[in-house]
Symmetry: D2
Subunit: 287 residues, 4 copies
């Protein structure tokens, strides 16, 4: 995977059911906007609030509709469920699997390396590592990533730590391998590309897919100043749809552009009216 990836939200209807037509429509909208690959069942999809059956169906709907590669989130707290999810995603049409570090329990780097190595050995599709300490408290150490990067069925990493030092180390330590380093923090996408990342997977892209893609395009066209300027103009919006208001904020921002975001599932609660207005203004001001 390279370029701009989009971690699709999952549209739910008012009863909390997955709205499949809306999801298909969302795939159309964002791929038309130029994203390079899509990521169903990532964190922003509320995947931990879905059943295994639902997750498989989400991947299927997305893979059926998408004309770009599909990197499906399949990571669960346990090895067995993760492998089962990965196999199901492959069967549903995913090109590769994005596996978050196992959560709830904390594991050391040796256990994580063993876990990923086992999955990569058994998975029918390439495994991408996914480090998101804001949810899991466990960052993947660049030395662990280095050790895994040479496995033929490990395709890359999404690093959502927001830490550019760590990203640089990961790029340096995996430099010789056929291994994609993907930036997972919308505020440092351009910086990550400047420092050798191959692309990104950005919540923000759900709201402004055309701008997220443009950061990448400017960068690859050599206009690194322009890429950074555009990225910087999106930092406040990015914070609003991630750290500040989370997935409820992300979906509200999308709705302000008439993107088919749908509702959130509980325990998430919708944002209030003042936040909806603030988000709409941030979206309007973007660019």
């Amino acid at each position: 995977m390279e370029g701009t990836g989009l971690p699709l939200v999952t549209p739910f209807d008012e009863t909390g059911e997955i709205d499949e037509p809306a999801l298909s429509d969302l795939v159309d909208r964002v791929t038309d906007a130029g994203v390079d690959f899509v990521v169903p069942c990532g964190s922003n999809s509320e995947a931990p609030l879905l059943t295994a059956t639902e997750r498989r169906r989400v991947v299927e709907v997305v893979a059926d509709r998408s004309d770009v590669p599909v990197l499906a989130g399949t990571g669960q707290p346990g090895y067995r469920e993760t492998l089962a999810d990965t196999e199901a995603a492959a069967a549903a049409g995913a090109d590769a699997a994005l596996v978050v570090t196992p959560y709830y329990f904390r594991h050391d780097q040796a256990a994580l390396a063993s876990y990923y190595r086992g999955l990569a050995d058994e998975s029918p599709i390439p495994i991408f590592l996914y480090s998101v300490p804001k949810y899991t408290e466990t960052p993947l150490d660049p030395r662990t990533v280095e050790a895994l990067s040479t496995h033929p069925n490990v395709g890359g990493i999404k690093d959502s730590s927001g830490n550019l030092e760590r990203l640089q180390r990961t790029v340096s330590l995996t430099g010789d391998a056929d291994f994609s380093v993907l930036v997972g923090s919308g505020s440092i996408y351009a910086a990550g590309l400047d420092h050798g990342a191959d692309g990104g997977v950005l919540a923000l892209a759900n709201v402004v897919p055309e701008l997220a893609s443009e950061i990448y395009d400017r960068h690859t066209d050599g206009d690194t100043d322009g890429a950074r300027d555009l990225n910087r103009s999106l930092v406040e919006l990015n914070r609003a749809v991630t750290a500040r208001y989370g997935i409820p904020g992300l979906k509200a921002a999308m709705r302000s552009r008439s993107l088919p975001a749908g509702h959130v599932r509980r325990p998430f609660q919708p944002v209030d009216d003042a936040t909806t207005t603030e988000l709409a203004e941030l979206v309007r001001a973007a660019r």
Copy 2:
């Protein structure tokens, strides 16, 4: 629920399958040792590494065998799965459901209160709150607990924060309600009882069920000094089977007493030989 509860480990065989006969045997062993209730599918059961089907089966096996009340862990990251798990546990014979604060995503106290209130409204069996910030990063605020404690279908809380100030506040703020406060930290069981807790749910009880129960019995017999002395003698062992070596250490300690603990599931790794020896010595020294 009151008295000493035991958060049963789940014995796995060498292939990682649930060893049901071992689980039944474990129920016999620990109820013979005097524990007052059992908790299948709590954190120590590796429940997040089980499928929903397996969780239901674990509850069923335990409920079928146990002659003491069954408080079944049913908390998942999402509301729907938690409710489904709770209904399944009830159908499988559980007397009440222990619902961990939803994990992976972080939710504020208002969202948590709404979540628990909804579950309590819909659940066929009483709901127990479960606050375990070492896994979820989100402690339940005593004010939130106070607000929920008056719901007729909220039965109590397991507080595993290890924070005696918080426990005291919880006891004080729920004092008028028919609400059980259960200590979730083996090192402060006697102290919690001294301060008004109704019982405990202790990982340590898997290893030394007779001693965990004796802490409670001494306390209720008025020998609070003796309860504390016994508890203090178990602090190093408790740390070893929780904070230091986790569930792999817990199972190794159990095996040193020939208790049917079985293996761990991945991503957990078994402890090494030196740790096994250290744990066996701590078990031997207990009391």
Copy 3:
């Protein structure tokens, strides 16, 4: 040191100068109320906001007035200043020195052990360890305390971590030594005494010295239930004058009882009127 210690606030006048008559008056008021020893230049004195000259003068004023033992805070980020402060405190009349783990920079347990050992070797008065991770982020490990406890010039520890497991381990590991374990968290004073602590040093005692002392007295009289009941009735007040509103809240609460607390020094800001009212109500409700 044993029994109830009082970490005296430092009264400042409106220009920020130390109000020595008020400080002397405060010593009278609190020793009349029955506290067993006083602690000038502890955290609650705003000692890090004083010059070395001022700290020496505070100790002198307190030692001149007090008819109970004086445990003077002397810990600075560096060894040299700490030793100089300790010598100055001894010359000013202190009976022992309370040395906080060195702050700003973080040091490992080996460096901390070496630091305390050196101070104990050189100090003219006994050294008390002081672990307060809410300010320093570095708790003293009970094993480090154990190693230091046998030094003839190390007199004890004030443990303000609020962690009863750690306190129990400290009591157990220093059990054979002539070493005082002092509870530094007002909410777990009675519990700490129950578990073998020799006394406490409690911010709360500035506000209700007679009640803090009564917890200890009830405990030593064998009325451990009464000690805990009294302690529990003070938990909300304790939180208000520590975690919630800090030293500005502590001083405001004291003023509501006409205790000579004086003003705070910058960067502290006084609490607002609503908080002053809330604190006064909590004080009134105490007991």
Copy 4:
């Protein structure tokens, strides 16, 4: 201030006394290497382990010898000492004062804003804000920085949080003011410059002043790729002399190049031989 600043270590002799000739020599060595300004009494100087008298003397020695601007660290936990230190630094020849957020006690953003505003009103030289959460736990919020940036006697900020999102926000929010944003993390110096920072103050510059300066020079010459490449080649060395081995590692790395670093003061301990060798190899490999 703009360009590459060097937070000078303080050389101590074997007895722990300041080695003034070594300090003067160090100033010569690093200014010859091209750094744009020097920072005595910053964190890397072990300033919290110096007396006020010593801090003033360090500034004096540096200001007397330096032919580049001097930004002197003057921040203490309290307002009064910080102001006194700032006045002393000005008298000793400092051009501006670098004031760390007050430590030991935690203060909210409003208190911090009031603190800095007061200092800026009273200081004879410009004040630079200094946010270093790894020591103080309290990052300055970009909105706080924005509010302070328009004060005529606030000259800029050193942001050592290592967080490029925050740095970008700070640059954006202070964009219209005559206000310097200085990067405080060696691993993201080039990235910070790319995103609008005016320079940096880097521990790493003590070891390789010519390379730290070259990052800035390449950047300003338009060779931003070259700046980043050079910076990336220094990331492992930077980590070794900051996060991994701290000031003892920094001084050992300097000594491997025969730079007059001297010894550390207690509670710091020198690094062991293996670390000395590792550091020397990292230094040798740099570039």
